[in-house]
Symmetry: C2
């Protein structure tokens, strides 16, 4: 088992990474304020993993209640959130009851947000079951739900007490979801870790084949990178925004096509391509760098070409994104391969990037 | 102008108290991150005070948008909250846009919660226009909404950047609302400030007549008391719960009768009577003390007799309240007049208190 520590002064916590953590209740039990948890999962994940977790908890005399939500990004809404509150209140859950998120990023984001605001805050634990959730969404305390006018618009910074990344759960992950997770993995290489990018170029096939050793290394390295960035800037006042590489464009794609048509990671993959094209416009990265990024994304089974939404629609959707300050849109750009920074783009550069990214590449 | 400081290490802020603060934009302007605010108010308060505030802000080159909600505790719901989000997103409000709550506790609680979770947190300012909001709800950062199964069940601890208690706004407050506010004022005397309780006994008529000097003194003293308690325990891990004196019983009354039938302050007044009866059961306060509390509440125009909901219904409603820990209900009890503590009551004592409080007193 590898352990990465997220060193927040007010609330440090561990991220454990290994196969079969789901049943290692001794990792969970010492953190509970009362021997009672509510597990939030969805209709896809629950049949696969809920029973193991629940049996293990109950064997350790921990009372369990589970809430099974419908599966999908389209359910990451205030209506579904209210279903969680209804159950918590009907079950008379108290301020010391711990919520456990068992699922991908959708379940993690919603459960975390429910925990943040139920009775003004109850403890919660993340058990991410997608690669994307293990390397990204379960770590760092961003929680939230979507709004018809924008993704993740309502939420809170609220840290879990523990993250258990059980690599065995990835065995059942659909390939398309594995690829989507790899988009966020590749993102860490591009943000500030060229050595990891190069490791990925050499090991992408092993990851696609779900070799445990390769997965364990990649998840650990991503969590280390994310933990370092988050510990330095919990509330995203500065450097944390680097984690949004590819996301300004990506969110526009997700919301422009309608949530759920493209996977988040797919949109981020193309978003990174667009960020790369914009950076090339600024003479910061070369055609060769772009080719390397494109090739790695393709080997990871990811799209590299942007959907044709029309430039004006892209600009409009991005103006609605969160990363807006006094009307100016912020982008994460690449200074060179493996080094990113936060900057602004003028309209022409955005359009040039969109033109390059929407045509065949 | 009196100023009380809330000394939170991570986010200290000022509470200013005086007449005509509404137009003193120089108190607000230095705190804004961008020259743009959204004022949230309701259909009763907006016609009275929105224009003065908005004109003053606009004269100082601050862009204003206002959101006018329907008036009433029954609207302190997730539906109304969503109306706020819809407007904020339609107006493309950003992370640096400050929300201003202009109204009583309902507007303050909802606006504060909207600010806490819109884009994971935007700055907000409280301009409380009821006595209750000036002495209690606007100070200390508790924000939230109701759920059909319980009051204030969804929320966040989220501090304002500033509180402006404009005493002139109290001129238009209905008498019944003034009385409701006085319940919370009297509460501070009972928690730990016998001298203030005695000042209230001597000055209750001046407060009922809305004499500025008396109001200013009472609001300042309450804010000082609340600021001290909150600074010592922001997240209500311990002593802050003293502020719930009368509230466990009070919430049961509000929710049992249906939100909005009794005013919050009225329910708290009776709740304090019930807490007093329970404390007398424990031989902690005397008949004479109870008579003094009852007399002061009556002079403040408040009810002192509990509605007949039935003891079982009371017990059930209280078990659903937030102040529950491993199934045990916590109460704020009186050790003597002007000194309270957090304790538990057995079933018999609760029933004895209810019997005493529901019969004619
Ligand atoms: N909070 C953050 O910092 C952060 C970061 C990145 C992404 N996100 C959010 O995460 C979400 C995307 O997360 P995701 O990619 O995990 O999507 P997801 O949660 O929708 O999971 C993808 C699909 O895989 C299924 N699934 C999950 N685990 C499985 C398993 N072990 N076996 C088989 N099927 C399984 C799910 O039911 C779902 O159908 C988005 O809502 C995004 O906004 C949040
Ligand atoms: N956050 C906290 O710490 C805290 C503490 C105590 C109470 N509360 C909450 O506060 C709420 C009660 O607050 P409230 O008593 O201010 O009720 P309220 O906000 O409903 O206001 C009472 C009535 O007075 C009207 N009004 C407000 N200002 C006026 C003015 N200046 N002139 C004329 N009419 C005016 C309102 O429109 C409303 O009709 C409850 O929801 C309660 O849960 C919160
Ligand atoms: Zn992402
Ligand atoms: Zn109150």
């Amino acid at each position: 088992m590898q352990t990465v520590k997220l060193d927040l002064a007010h609330a440090p916590y561990d991220i454990h990474i290994a196969r079969d953590l789901l049943t290692q209740v001794e990792l969970i039990k010492p953190l509970l304020l009362q021997p009672r948890v509510v597990i939030v999962s969805n209709a896809t994940v629950a049949p696969l993993y809920l029973k193991s977790l629940q049996d293990a908890l109950e064997a350790a005399d921990i009372q369990c209640h589970s809430i099974i939500l419908p599966d999908g990004e389209v359910y990451k809404t205030s209506e579904t959130l209210n279903l969680i509150f209804d159950e918590l209140l009907t079950e008379r859950c108290e301020r010391k009851t711990t919520l456990i998120a068992l699922g991908g990023g959708v379940i993690g984001d919603m459960t975390g947000f429910a925990a943040a605001v139920y009775q003004r805050g109850v403890p919660f634990i993340q058990i991410p079951t997608t690669l994307l959730a293990q390397v990204d969404s379960s770590v760092g305390g961003k929680t939230g739900i979507n709004h018809p006018l924008g993704k993740n618009m309502i939420g809170a910074f609220y840290q879990p007490k523990l993250v258990l990344a059980d690599l065995a759960t990835l065995d059942t992950l659909p390939l398309r979801e594995l690829s989507a997770g790899l988009a966020e993995v590749i993102k860490y290489g591009l943000i500030d870790d060229l050595a990891f990018f190069e490791w990925l170029e050499a090991n992408i096939e092993r990851l696609m084949a779900r070799e445990t050793e390769a997965l364990a290394y990649a998840v650990e390295r991503c969590c280390q990178n994310k933990a370092r960035i988050v510990a330095g800037d919990e509330k995203e006042q500065g450097q944390r925004a680097l984690l949004n590489l590819g996301h300004t464009f990506g969110h526009a794609i997700e919301s422009g096509l309608g949530y759920g048509v493209w996977l988040h990671g797919e949109a981020v993959a193309v978003g990174m391509m667009l960020a790369a094209f914009a950076s090339r416009e600024l003479d910061q990265i070369s055609d060769d760098d772009i080719a390397r990024i494109e090739s790695l994304l393709k080997k990871a089974g990811l799209p590299v070409q942007a959907p044709q939404l029309g430039n004006e629609r892209y600009l409009d959707l991005m103006a609605q994104d969160k990363k807006v300050d006094a009307g100016k849109i912020k982008f994460v750009l690449m200074r060179c391969l493996g080094e990113s920074y936060i900057g602004e783009l003028n309209r022409e550069t955005v359009i040039a990037a969109l033109d390059a990214g929407c045509s065949s590449v």
